[in-house]
Symmetry: C2
Subunit: 351 residues, 2 copies
C-alpha cells in the first residue's frame, strides 16, 4: 500500500524513515536538493537515488526544513498524482494553511510529526530504529479519504512508532505546552546565568544544569519553530508571566510560595512516567568512576553479579578533575548491599 515510497529531504529524519521502510522490504526513492546527501543516505541503506515513475508512487514523505515544507508538499501533490503526501514538520497548522492556499485539492495530504529527538541533523547517523516506540503524531482531517489516513498509519507502524491522532490545532497547542514553552523557559533561565559574576557559577549543582540543558539547542531551528507556532506559545508565556508576577508580589508570604511549589509538584506528577514506581522512593548511591574505557563495564558487571536491579542512573562530571560520578538509584532495601559490594570491589563510594 505504501510501495514504492519517495523521501524528499534526506537529513536525519528523512534518511531514517528511508532506512525503516527499506528494512521492511519496501522500495524507497530518495530525493534531496543537495544530491550528495541523498547519496550518503542511500549508502546508509535508506533507499536508492534513482527516480521513481511518478504515477506509480504510493507515498511521499516530505522531510525538508520547516519553512520549505508547504511548497514541497504542494509540488509533490502535483508531481505524484496517486500518492499520499505526508510531512514530518514539528508544527502543523501553519503548514496545513499554506498547503491549502497552494493547492486545489489537499485531500491526499495528511500532516505528521514523528517525535524523535536528536541533536544530529545529517543523514550520517540515520537509523531504521530512530522511531521505535517514539510517538508519531498524525493530524487527519475530515477531507482526508480513509485510504489516505490508513497509508499514513502504515508508514508510522512500519517505522515502529506509537501513533497518536489529533487535530493540527490540538497538536500545536500540545507541543507549545510540553516542548516549545519549556525550551524558551530554559533559554531565558540560562540567559540569566550569562549575566551573573563568573565566580558565582562555581556553586552551580545538578539542578540548574538540568533546567538549562536544552538551552544549548540550535537557535536557527528554534527560531523557525517559534515563528510557526507563535499563538499557543504566547499563551503559555503570558500565563507564566502572570504566575511569575504573582510570585514576585507574594514572595514574602510563605503560603503563596508554598502554593507555587505544590503546584509544581502536581505538574511533575502529571507527566506520564515509569509505571508503578515512585522515583522518590528510590535511594541514590554515588560511585566515583575513572574516566577510562571499560570502567563502567566492570562496575556494572559487578552490580549484575550481585543481582541488584538499577532503577535509574545518571552521570555527573567533576568540573575540575578528570573523573565522573555515577549516581545509581536502587530500592531502599538494596542500598546497604550495593554499598558493601562497591566498597568490597574497590570502587570509590561517595554516598
Amino acid at each position: 500500500m505504501i510501495d514504492p515510497a519517495v523521501i524528499v529531504g534526506t537529513g536525519l529524519v528523512g534518511a531514517s524513515v528511508g532506512c525503516a521502510l527499506s528494512a521492511a522490504g519496501l522500495s524507497v526513492h530518495l530525493r534531496d536538493r543537495v544530491r550528495s546527501h541523498a547519496v550518503v543516505a542511500a549508502g546508509r541503506g535508506a533507499g536508492v537515488v534513482e527516480p521513481v515513475d511518478p504515477a506509480s508512487a504510493r507515498l511521499v514523505v516530505v522531510a525538508v526544513p520547516p519553512t520549505a515544507v508547504p511548497r514541497v508538499v504542494a509540488s509533490s501533490l502535483a508531481r505524484y498524482p496517486n500518492a499520499v503526501v505526508t510531512d514530518v514538520g514539528s508544527v502543523k497548522s501553519k503548514i496545513l494553511d499554506e498547503v491549502i492556499a497552494l493547492t486545489e485539492d489537499a485531500s491526499r495530504y495528511i500532516g505528521g510529526h514523528p517525535m524523535a529527538g536528536s541533536h544530529q541533523s545529517g543523514p550520517l547517523t540515520a537509523a531504521a530504529e530512530l522511531f521505535a516506540d517514539r510517538t508519531w503524531v498524525l493530524t487527519p482531517r475530515p477531507d482526508n479519504p480513509d485510504w489516505v489516513v490508513e497509508t499514513a498509519r502504515t508508514l508510522a507502524s512500519v517505522c515502529g512508532a506509537r501513533i497518536v491522532e489529533m487535530s493540527a490545532a490540538d497538536h500545536d497547542r500540545a507541543v507549545a505546552e510540553v516542548s516549545h514553552f519549556p525550551q524558551l523557559v530554559s533559554s531565558l533561565t540560562a540567559a540569566r546565568l550569562a549575566d551573573v559574576p563568573r565566580g558565582d557559577l562555581r556553586l552551580a549543582g545538578q539542578g540548574v544544569r538540568d533546567v538549562t540543558r536544552i538551552a544549548a539547542s540550535d537557535p536557527d531551528m528554534w527560531v523557525q519553530i517559534v515563528a510557526a507556532n507563535r499563538a499557543p506559545i504566547r499563551e503559555q508565556l503570558v500565563a507564566l508571566r502572570d504566575d511569575l508576577s504573582g510570585l514576585i508580589a507574594a514572595l514574602d508570604e510563605p503560603d503563596a510560595v508554598n502554593d507555587v511549589l505544590k503546584r509544581g509538584n502536581k505538574g511533575v506528577r502529571a507527566l506520564p512516567g515509569k509505571r508503578g514506581k515512585r522515583p522518590d522512593k528510590l535511594v541514590p548511591v554515588v560511585v566515583q568512576i575513572p574516566d577510562a574505557p571499560g570502567a563502567l563495564g566492570r562496575l556494572f558487571a559487578d552490580i549484575a553479579m550481585n543481582g541488584i536491579n538499577i532503577e535509574d542512573l545518571s552521570i555527573e562530571h567533576d568540573p575540575d578533575r578528570e573523573i565522573g560520578y555515577l549516581s545509581i538509584d536502587v530500592a531502599p532495601d538494596r542500598v546497604d548491599g550495593l554499598r558493601r559490594m562497591i566498597r568490597d570491589r574497590g570502587w570509590g563510594l561517595r554516598s
Copy 2:
C-alpha cells in the same frame, strides 16, 4: 584541633559529617532533639550519643532545620565556651544577622554550606563520602580569629570537600542565581503543566522532564529557603520577568527570539563543565534495555570488551511499556563500531 567534635542535628547532613569525622579517627558526640535519630546515626558510625565535657569541645557543627539554626548556634556558643561553632544552612546572611542579635560575641561562629544535594533527609542514608569533591562554602568575617577559620577549613578538608570562601552576602547572591532561582523557575514551569489538558502530556519528551525535574522537590524545605533569601531571589525573578516581557512583546520578530536563544546558549556554556570535551561533539546511540537485573551489566561488559569509552549516558523509561532506553554518548568515530557491536550481540538498537 577539631577533636572532640559535637554534631547537633543528626539528619542526613549532620550524620554524614559525623561519619566523615569518625572515619578520620576523631571523637564525635551526637545530639538530636529526637534522641532516636542520634541513636540511628550512631549505628551508622557517625559517633557516640554520650555527651561531651562542654569545656573540652573544639568544634560544634549545627545541622538542624534552617529556622532553628540561629538559636542553636547561639546556645552552642554559650554551652561550649572553647569551641568553634559552624552550621550547614543553605542561606547565610539571615542566620548571621540573627546569631549576632542573639549573642554578645559571635567571633567563634563561622558560617558554612556543604553543597551535598540529596532528596534524602534522614540519617539512614548517611555516609562519610557524601561531601567528597563537593563544594563546601565557608563565609569567614573580619571578626573571626584565624584559628576559627582554620578549624572550619579542617572540618571541610577532613570531609573531603572542595573549599570555597566568600562573604555571606556573596554566597547568598550566588545560590539565589544558581539554585534558588532555577528551583522556582522549574516549579513555575511544572505548575503550567498541571493546568493543560492531560492528553497533551502524551507528547512530553525528555526536554520538559529535565526542565521540571527539580520541581518535584520538597515544598516545606524550599519555603524556608526562599523566606531566608528573598532579596537576591526577587532580583533574579524580576530580571526574568523583564526578559520574559521583552520576549512576549517581540515574539513576532525572529531576531529578538534568536537573541534569547543565543544568550541561552551562552549561559549554558558559562557553567563549569567537563574539561576539554564539547558535549555537542558527541553522538548518542540509543539501546533498548530490558528492565531486569543484570541487563545493564551485560551490556556494559560488551561495550567494555570492545574498548569503547562512554562519554556520557542517560536512561529514559518508556511510559507505556516496562522497558527502558539507554542513551550512550560516544565520540563520532566510535558510533558505527558501537552500533555494530550492539546489533551483533543481540541488543535492540534504536538510533
